[in-house]
């Protein structure tokens, strides 16, 4: 973009000043027409070099470049050195990255989530996840094509794939091939930025032999699609940039459009994709600023530039992103375990339905009251008492429909008037719980969970024919209304109201605090003074009264359209994402990433281990490239101010342009993490690592300009070999393959890498003997293992059956009696206990690894199902 120098760097690495551009162009043409293979590659790189360097738009030059470009394309493909190199590297990466992809044959790390989501897509059950849907849908699509049985739910790490015939290999292959595709992308990104084939090859090889990228792309995870789309976007943008002399040409538009598509796809995989959007955005603003300063560009033409970019880089990505959600909603049209995250109108689109209810609410109506500030559900009571405070009947929030959510509205004195008398703003009412005949009551007792002095317990109090007392009185205050009428009179759905306890001047309140087991872990309801308004608002959802006229106006939730659903889901995703604050044994802070202080343990079994850790050589070299870049730019910046004009015969611009873009991309993919409070992991650095590697290859290319061309090839081979060797050393952690303790110890570059070398045997022969011993052991103790298997099987069952199974089990133990129970327990426990000693820690570790990303309470609704069972038992 800079208006620069007509200088260039000679192929031999000696920076030279070129004479006339035209002469150079023609000489290139001549060379090209008689090119041998090797000459040709040199020319190509020179052509590329010029391509990025050439700035003065000069017809002659443009022409020559154009013919050159065409001629390169018109060569038979098998003669193109470049294509052969890319082909070879891609082939290599197919082998390296997909090698033994079927191992391990069980659920690894976050496959728990992303495999599980695939099952839910196939079942069309709505779920909530913090990531946008694209990559998950791709995984689900693969699973569906290859016959994934959705009853397999990927519930925990280590669950076997083979026996339930899970098509995990195609699912992993899908991610793996996306990982493979990143390698040629790296090549072309560097190449098309105007760098030599050497640099491009180096970039591709380093990306290929990067342990963390390999590990991450071999499993059913979102990162390989994310990195692929990010890399694709960067490539498309570089290509677009190369077309800047042909503004508004077909190629220009194609690459601009593809950049936009790439942005949309990246953003639709994970929100981290926003970082590439920021990168491209910054670059776009920079372009527009330069164009604005170019007085040869008329304002009208500038406006065209602006509009073209706005459409392709804003409208297109947003459209792609929304399209993904549209597909997501179309697939997930049934309710599922994500319902509890969404608002009531949203749930109406998920197969739940609500009958139309009469608009006006009269005394004597039986109503259900939904809390607005949380998604906790309905004001609820049941025949169990608090174990703290007053020991009166519990009042909770309960998310599912149930007759225990029904209340009758009474007048202040506890009576119900004859005929219809509608409730107005400011009326004092009582609420009678229909199934237990208790009234909603509050008093000066501490609530069960919240310790704050502003909170008071809310309970159900009274009995049939009890007149009640003043602590049963609540004033209805309408705080938000859709129309004037619903501000004066209490209307179903339309009036949002507070219930103010008249005696204590506190508001009926609920928040996301779970009550203990004795209250079935339902949500706490209290009466709070000076509470935040949002958490004290309620709305009447159903409204039944025998005396309502037939033709009374009815009301129901307005089902949200796509846009409403889209916005709500994104908001919930954002809130949930920000709420992932728990610590995790393998989480890390961004400051530790560039130095690769620590990896992540993914999976371990049978003396094999998968541990996410980078290739230290590549990693440290890429970090060094960043540091060098900053240092050089800083130094030159200061020297400029002091009047030195170092441009190193054009080399500087060469470094600052493409290197600058990769550096900015790295910075945008790295620094924003410092602002995030949520738990972060090493693999969040991988997109930044990709750009750091590209920057390293640019640095390499620039450094190569100072050495003879033969030495350049040697340098390339040397660096690549070291990186490949380093990859090989740590490959067993990547593939989860056999290793020995001594090799493991030798592989630890930093002492902070916490994979346990003691788990490996002293030599490979032990794997064989251990396996043999194990088979023997299994054969001899088949009987003993059976109880353990049973345990497993009913753990895997879900929902009501589980409840039954557990209670039956308990029943059996009870029946045996105390002494016998101990003996029985011992008998059963022995093998299980053994198991607990040996494999349980690993499993436990894995289970918690499973919690890594978004395991918020998927179990909530399930538990509530249990609760409803419990309650029925109680009742």
């Amino acid at each position: 973009m800079r208006n620069g120098h007509s200088s260039a760097v000679d192929q031999t690495g000696v920076p030279v000043y070129r004479g006339s551009q035209a002469a150079r162009g023609s000489s290139l043409n001549n060379n090209n027409s008689t090119a041998t293979d090797s000459r040709q590659s040199l020319d190509e790189s020179r052509e590329h070099h010029n391509h990025s360097k050439a700035v003065h738009s000069n017809d002659n030059e443009d022409n020559s470049r154009f013919t050159k470009f065409k001629s390169r394309r018109s060569l038979p493909w098998y003669q193109s050195r470049e294509l052969q190199i890319v082909g070879a590297i891609t082939l290599l990466s197919l082998i390296v990255r997909l090698w033994a992809i079927d191992y391990p044959t069980s659920v690894v790390f976050d496959e728990v989530h992303f495999g599980g989501f695939a099952s839910k897509y196939i079942k069309n059950r709505f779920f909530m996840d913090v990531h946008p849907p694209l990559a998950k849908m791709l995984i689900a699509l693969t699973g569906w094509l290859f016959g994934l049985n959705p009853s397999f739910d990927f519930k925990e790490i280590g669950l076997d794939y083979i026996e339930p015939k899970v098509p995990y290999v195609p699912m992993r292959l899908m991610c793996g091939i996306m990982g493979v595709a990143v390698v040629p992308m790296a090549f072309y990104t560097v190449r098309n930025s105007g760098h030599s084939i050497h640099a491009a090859t180096l970039a591709a090889l380093l990306v290929l032999f990067e342990n963390s990228l390999v590990t991450q792309s071999r499993l059913i995870l979102l990162d390989s699609p994310l990195i692929l789309f990010t890399a694709f976007t960067a490539l498309a943008w570089v290509n677009f940039h190369n077309q800047r002399k042909n503004a508004f040409s077909d190629d220009w538009f194609i690459w601009l459009f593809l950049t936009g598509v790439g942005l949309g796809l990246s953003g639709s995989v994970k929100w981290v994709g926003l970082f590439i959007i920021a990168t491209i955005g910054t670059s776009t603003i920079n372009q527009l600023w330069d164009l604005w300063g170019d007085l040869k560009v008329s304002p009208r033409s500038w406006l065209n530039h602006f509009i073209a970019r706005a459409v392709c880089l804003i409208v297109v990505p947003v459209a792609v992103y929304m399209l993904m959600f549209e597909i997501h909603f179309l697939i997930l049209h049934n309710g599922g375990d994500g319902d509890g995250f969404m608002s009531a109108p949203f749930q109406m689109t998920l197969g739940h339905s609500l009958q139309d209810s009469p608009l006006s609410v009269a005394y004597g109506a039986s109503v259900s009251i939904r809390h607005q500030g949380t998604k906790g559900g309905y004001l609820h009571s049941h025949a169990s008492v608090y174990e703290t405070g007053s020991k009166q009947q519990q009042i909770t929030l309960y998310p599912h429909k149930d007759t225990n959510n029904d209340w009758i509205i009474q007048k202040k004195d506890g009576t119900v008037p004859e005929g219809l008398e509608y409730i107005q703003h400011g009326d004092v009412i009582r609420l009678m719980h229909i199934t237990t005949n208790k009234r909603l009551h509050s008093h000066e007792h501490k609530p069960p969970m919240t310790e704050d002095e502003n909170h008071f317990e809310v309970s159900g109090y009274g009995f049939k024919d009890f007149a009640g007392d003043a602590n049963d009185e609540w004033r209805v205050e309408i705080v938000e209304n859709n129309d004037e009428e619903s501000g004066k009179f209490l209307h179903t759905l339309n009036s949002k109201f507070k219930l103010v306890h008249t005696n204590m001047n506190c508001d009926l309140f609920s928040h996301k605090v779970k009550l203990p087991k004795w209250a079935f872990e339902q949500q706490e309801v209290t009466c709070m003074r000076s509470a935040v308004l949002a958490k004290t608002t309620w709305v009447i959802e159903s409204n039944i009264h025998a005396d309502y006229p037939e033709d009374a106006p009815k009301v129901n939730y307005k089902k949200p359209g796509f846009l409403g659903k889209f916005l709500e889901l994104n908001k919930v995703m954002w809130e949930t994402n920000a709420g992932l604050l728990d610590s995790h044994p393998y989480d890390s802070r961004p400051s530790s990433w560039p130095l690769l202080k620590r990896g992540i343990s993914f999976w371990g079994r049978e003396q094999k281990h998968i541990y996410l850790v980078g290739n230290p050589v590549t990693w440290f070299m890429s970090t060094a490239a960043i540091v060098i870049y900053v240092a050089i730019r800083g130094l030159l910046f200061l020297r400029d101010k002091r009047g030195y004009n170092d441009d190193f015969n054009g080399l500087r611009e060469y470094y600052e342009l493409s290197g600058g873009f990769f550096f900015v991309a790295w910075a945008f993919h790295y620094f924003p993490f410092f602002l995030m409070d949520r738990q972060l992991f090493l693999h969040h650095y991988l997109p930044a690592l990709y750009f750091a590697i590209l920057l390293f290859s640019v640095t390499f290319d620039v450094a190569c300009r100072f050495i003879p061309s033969r030495a350049r090839l040697v340098a390339l081979v040397l660096i690549a070999s070291i990186a490949i060797y380093s990859f090989r050393v740590r490959a067993p952690l990547t593939y989860g393959s056999e290793w020995t303790r001594s090799e493991c110890e030798a592989s630890k570059v930093l002492t902070t890498w916490d994979y346990d070398c003691n788990q490996y045997p002293d030599n490979y022969a032990q794997y064989v003997s251990n396996a043999a011993a194990k088979t023997a052991a299994v054969e001899s103790t088949t009987n003993a293992e059976e109880p353990a298997a049973n345990v497993d099987s009913f753990e895997r069952d879900t929902e009501p059956q589980e409840q039954q199974a557990v209670s039956e089990g308990e029943g059996v133990v009870d029946a045996v009696g105390a002494g016998a129970a101990v003996a029985a327990a011992a008998a059963v426990a022995e093998p299980v206990g053994e198991d607990a000693q040996i494999t349980d820690p690993a499993e436990a570790k894995m289970a918690q690894d499973g919690e890594i990303e978004p395991t918020f309470d998927f179990e909530v609704p399930v538990e509530d199902d249990e609760v409803s069972e419990n309650e029925k038992n109680d009742a």
């Binding site: 007085l295 044994p585 009913f794 753990e795 426990a829 349980d840 436990a844 570790k845």
Partner: protein, 752 residues
């Protein structure tokens, strides 16, 4: 000039714009080649002084009006009044803010004869009943709050703005309800804003001497700037925003000096650099530390802040409990208490259930829990891991490997590789009976690592971790309660994260040691500790506690709401009279200020874009004043506002106060930019190398006065309308409150 558009257009003709002259300045004009000492005439200086005096008087009246009301503790007087009392008593307390402002309040109390007997416990406590000279205490912030006004005026004046513009800025600062309410109570913000304005004023003065570098005046104003930013930061850490504002200006200045066209040699440049490093880094650091030194020198007695500090620190305070600590010997029966949650390490003859509710299996061993009450089951006998040499009677040292015997059930404390009851990531802790064989000996050894309190285990004084030898976990507990089977006691488990701060335990008692033994063993002497260690510890604690203030408060707000005044804070209410103090800015004034900030962004954006296209819409001097003076105040606003978005702690409207002052200065400057033609100049002191420059005068047209007066009238009207809520001296009626509710979120009391 009737509007911004037309003025802009007029200014676009650069060369045509001859400096407008004034009849008063004719004499100076005659000799344009002479170096001009001052751009202002003596008549103008007199006018300026009169304006300054009048505004100062108004400021004093506005701050001191009925300062005796209410004679009750209002809002955060609870904290800062209390801290002043602690200073007067000399008892150690802990607060997240640096000490200066609180010490100033204490000094004020000392001079007016207050002895610190009152603790300001609740909002609404009566001062008169408790014999507290609160008027004197409030007078200090009120006075400094009033003095902010002349500083604002003089800063604007020094920056070269006409009297009208300066007066406008000062007037807006005087009659802002938030500034009034917040500065007439015993709070820190008044000192903060005062010192902040001192910094800005000194810096402007310093910048104006830049043509005479290293002169006495240059040095004086630079050091004054340095001291002022140190004082600002010594009031609240928010003062760092002022440091950043000045810092950015200084770095920009240095960057310009580095420019080859300035013809400074590297040596000369480095001299500039070192001078600023001394004046703006070194001196401020010393001043900041000095206040902490005074702080420690005053607070010599043990007090409510002890528990926040390390044991070494507490030992420096008179009457601290650490002095009671006695050395633990092998064979002693001790209690072990968790530092964070204050529960005892406890065990009892009940076992973990074989299977938990989530289906996981436990070892079914004896429970180890955290129990908050004293109980014989809290006693553990301490043994060495060496069976041959039991070391009974020897003192327990750092890094010793020990075993703990639960006395009541006579079983060894043990950790093993089984998941704990509630956390699958952590290890279960259980015990193992002495009656069984010794095969699990290795699982019962723990290394004791002392984090503080010397190298020998001492009760009360030593905080230690218990590291399990074979599986490398630390014994840990957290506030998670166990279910019924664990009697709702706290879960204790083995934490794999060894560096976590909550791994710390302390031993608070040795069973059977009597007082005479204690007296023999312990030295009651108060220890000393180096100032720098004490400072670093306190500073660290302040930062971590400040970040930890994440509890939500009913009146907290998010920064995005502040400039638009979306919500206020209820400071104080009185039920009988229905009076209340509700902190809220002057709504009309603040909204106009926000609009002026938008004008700045719009004008500078338009200017940048047009210059990029080769158009120069602004006269060079006007443009320079616009970026260097108005832009500086705008940067001040940015730096005192935007960083709040990055803070996780609970934030309040009054955090916007420093930024608000800047926004009023910007408002006045923008008014001048729109309505006043040209600028006064040059305003900087001429130096030996300064080329003679033509005198320029700003033309202040009648419309500028007219609009200025309209703005002041709007602002004053709005102030008076909300004054009852700001002073809390009279109770508006319900209807009156409803009229004052411009936004539905303004949640007054007694509104119904």
């Amino acid at each position: 000039a009737t509007g911004s558009e037309s003025t802009l257009r007029q200014r676009s003709t650069v060369p045509k714009h001859t400096p407008p002259t004034d009849s008063n300045t004719a004499a100076t004009e005659d000799a344009p080649k002479k170096v001009i000492k001052s751009v202002f005439t003596s008549a103008e200086k007199t006018n300026s002084l009169i304006a300054l005096a009048g505004l100062t008087a108004l400021a004093i009246v506005s701050r001191f009006y009925k300062i005796n009301e209410p004679d009750e503790v209002v809002f955060d007087e609870v904290h800062f009044g209390k801290f002043a009392s602690y200073y007067l008593r000399g008892s150690y307390f802990f607060d997240v803010h640096p000490p200066l402002a609180k010490m100033m309040l204490a000094a004020m109390g000392y001079f007016i004869g207050y002895d610190g007997h009152f603790l300001f416990d609740n909002i609404g406590d009566k001062y008169n009943d408790n014999n507290v000279p609160y008027i004197g205490l409030r007078a200090l912030p009120a006075f400094l709050g009033a003095m902010t006004v002349p500083l604002v005026y003089m800063t604007m004046r020094e920056a070269g703005f006409p009297i009208l513009t300066c007066a406008l800025a000062a007037f807006f600062v005087i009659f802002d309800n938030m500034l009034v309410t917040q500065t007439r109570l015993i709070l820190l913000d008044s000192m903060l804003v005062f010192f902040m304005m001192c910094s800005i004023y000194s810096y402007v003065r310093f910048y104006k001497t830049r043509n005479n570098p290293f002169s006495l005046k240059w040095w004086s104003w630079m050091i004054a700037t340095g001291i002022s930013i140190a004082l600002t930061t010594s009031v609240k850490m928010v003062g760092l925003f002022t440091v950043a504002t000045i810092g950015v200006a200084v770095i920009w200045d240095l960057w310009e000096l580095l420019d080859i066209r300035r013809r400074l040699t590297m040596q000369q440049f480095m001299n500039h650099f070192y001078a600023r490093a001394i004046g703006l880094i070194l001196i401020p650091v010393v001043v900041y530390l000095f206040w902490f030194y005074v702080h420690f020198a005053i607070l010599i007695n043990s007090g409510p802040g002890d528990d926040f500090m390390s044991t070494e620190f507490q030992e420096t305070l008179k009457g601290n409990t650490m002095a009671d600590g006695i050395y633990v010997k092998y064979g002693d029966n001790i209690t072990i208490r968790h530092k964070d949650t204050s529960v005892y390490l406890h065990s009892h003859a009940h076992n973990y259930p074989l299977r938990y509710d989530d289906g996981r299996i436990s070892s079914a061993g004896q429970q180890v829990t955290g129990y908050s009450h004293e109980d014989p089951n809290n006693l553990w006998q301490i043994y060495s891991d060496n069976v041959e040499n039991t070391k009974i009677g020897n003192q327990v040292k750092d890094k010793d490997v020990i075993r703990l015997l639960h006395v009541a059930t006579s079983s060894w404390l043990l950790a093993h590789d089984v998941a704990s009851p509630t956390m699958t990531t952590n290890e279960e802790i259980t015990t193992y009976s002495t009656n069984e064989d010794g095969s699990r000996f290795n699982e019962t050894t723990f290394q004791i690592i002392l984090e503080s309190g010397g190298d020998k285990l001492r009760t009360m004084a030593s905080n230690f971790k218990l590291l399990h030898q074979s599986t490398k976990v630390a014994i840990w507990t957290h506030s998670q309660k166990l279910p019924d089977w664990g009697f709702e006691q706290q879960e204790v488990n083995g934490n794999k994260n060894l560096v976590q701060k909550s791994n710390l335990w302390l031993s608070d008692n040795i069973e059977g040691k009597n007082a005479s033994e204690i007296d023999q063993e312990s030295s009651k002497a108060v220890k000393t500790r180096s100032f720098i260690l004490k400072f670093l510890e306190l500073q660290g604690k302040m930062i971590s506690h400040n970040a930890g203030l994440t509890d939500s408060h009913p009146y907290q707000s998010s920064p995005i709401e502040w400039p638009f005044l979306v919500r206020g804070i209820s400071f104080w209410t009185e039920n009988e009279t229905r009076k209340q103090i509700y902190l809220i800015g002057n709504p009309l004034g603040m909204w106009i200020a926000v609009a002026s900030l938008a004008v700045i962004i719009g004008v500078s954006g338009a200017d940048l874009l047009s210059r990029r296209r080769g158009f120069y819409p602004l006269n060079q001097d006007v443009q320079k004043r616009f970026y260097y003076a108005t832009g500086f105040f705008f940067i001040g606003w940015i730096f005192h506002y935007i960083p709040f978005f990055l803070m996780g702690r609970a934030l309040f409207l009054h955090h916007y106060m420093p930024a608000l002052v800047f926004s009023y200065m910007v408002l006045a400057a923008v008014h001048g930019f729109i309505f006043i033609e040209g600028v006064d100049g040059p305003i900087s002191d001429p130096g030996p190398e300064t080329r003679p420059r033509q005198l320029q005068r700003a033309i202040v047209p009648v419309i500028a006065y007219a609009t200025g007066i309209i703005l002041m009238a709007i602002h004053l009207g709005s102030f008076l309308f909300f004054a009852p809520l700001s002073y809390g001296t009279s109770a508006p009626s319900v209807a009156g409150l409803a009229r004052r509710k411009f936004l539905p979120q303004w949640d007054y009391h007694f509104a119904k």
